[in-house]
Amino acid sequence: MNPLVRLLMALVLTAAPLLAQAHSPYPGVRGFYVGALHPLTTPSHVLLILAISILLGLRLTEGRMRCLATVFAATALGLVLAFVLASYLPSSLFILLLTTLVGGLIIGPTSLPGWSLVVLSGACGFLLALESIPDPGPFLDVLITVTGSLVGIHYLIMYGSRAVRHGLERWDSGPLQIGIKVVGSWIAAIGLLMLAFTLAGSTGIA
């Protein structure tokens, strides 16, 4: 198929589901979508998901499943513990700190021990989960929304890292590697600045 036609079809298919979002296909399912899309509505979450996806795609040639399983388990744990810990932990600060660290690792050493990637993946899932619980409500509604968050976080990291890996395998060229390093430095820089803004805001400097 002509690449241009393929691209147009992809765009049409991407645009079409927006029409279907006018209403939920099944009553009560709306909360699931809200939860699943929640990571995409918070810029700092998007930044962290982008960073960890790039890092996993870049550094992992094997053992990706172990990292993704850790993301899933840590996200599930975080979603459960969030109801107790969310008000005590400065999770937004940790998220920015982790974003800066992961951004730095994208441009840093070319190989990282497998266990460090597992730990980083788990920390990402856990911290994102802490900020993804819905407002109090009926148990079933909360459960559906929380399930959506679990699926959303996991799928975004899974597909993101796979897309980066696929890109590197298909176009293993210098410019792509360089582009990824530049994006990594931008992510680290944005994370660092945001961290400063947050600290300044919380300490009343700004």
Binding site: P43, K181, W186, A188, A189, L193, L195, A206
Partner: protein
């Protein structure tokens, strides 16, 4: 409005409204988009920042790989560190002089085709990045969305490096090399002008 009058006033009202709309920009931009626009325009509106950031890309392209990507990677990182110091209120003496000096030195590096070891180039660029970042950090508009401000700010910086790299790639040909080195001279001269203003 009579029909006769509306024939003339209706077509005129649209351009009039368009002309009046810039007045609405008088207030501080707020929200996500406002923060992005503020951050994106902040480095661009400062010619002293622009010339230095273009010079980083220009010098990187002039030095070739790996400096072509390493310098534009180092600069935003260290600049963000300087920005963080500025946001947190940590004082840094001689910021404006440092910014002017960055244009002078980086411009001279290109003009004189200086090829130091990679780590020297990275340290030099990084040291100047702190001054640029600090200036931006202390001048953050009050109502800006911090995250989108940071995104716009870093993107604009990166695009200016890219502009410098694109121009610096002309150095492959003899005429292009002359053009690139001349651009370095112009940047250095602009830096001297900024230094005179800062002193």
């Amino acid at each position: 409005m009579s029909p006769r009058c509306s024939r003339f006033t209706a077509p005129l009202s649209l351009p009039l409204l368009v002309l009046l709309s810039p007045l609405a920009l008088g207030h501080t931009e707020v929200g996500v988009v406002g923060g992005f626009i503020s951050g994106f325009l902040h480095p661009i509106y400062g010619p002293d920042h622009v010339v230095a950031m273009v010079a980083v890309g220009l010098w990187g392209a002039f030095l070739g790989s790996p400096a072509i990507w390493l310098l534009p990677v180092v600069f935003p990182l260290v600049m963000a560190f300087g920005g963080a110091l500025g946001v947190l209120g940590v004082p840094l003496p001689g910021v404006e002089i440092g910014i002017a000096a960055s244009a002078i030195v980086l411009g001279l590096m290109v003009l004189l085709a200086v090829r130091p070891p990679l780590w020297v180039a990275a340290v030099l660029v990084g040291a100047f990045g702190i001054f640029h970042g600090h200036a931006h950090g202390t001048e953050l508009p009050d109502a800006s969305n911090p995250l989108t401000y940071a995104i716009g700010f870093v993107l604009a910086t990166g695009l200016m490096h890219l502009a410098g790299i694109a121009f610096g790639l002309l150095a492959g040909s003899p005429a292009g090399r002359l053009a690139v080195r001349s651009a370095g001279g112009l940047i250095s001269a602009a830096g001297l002008y900024f230094l005179a203003g800062a002193l």
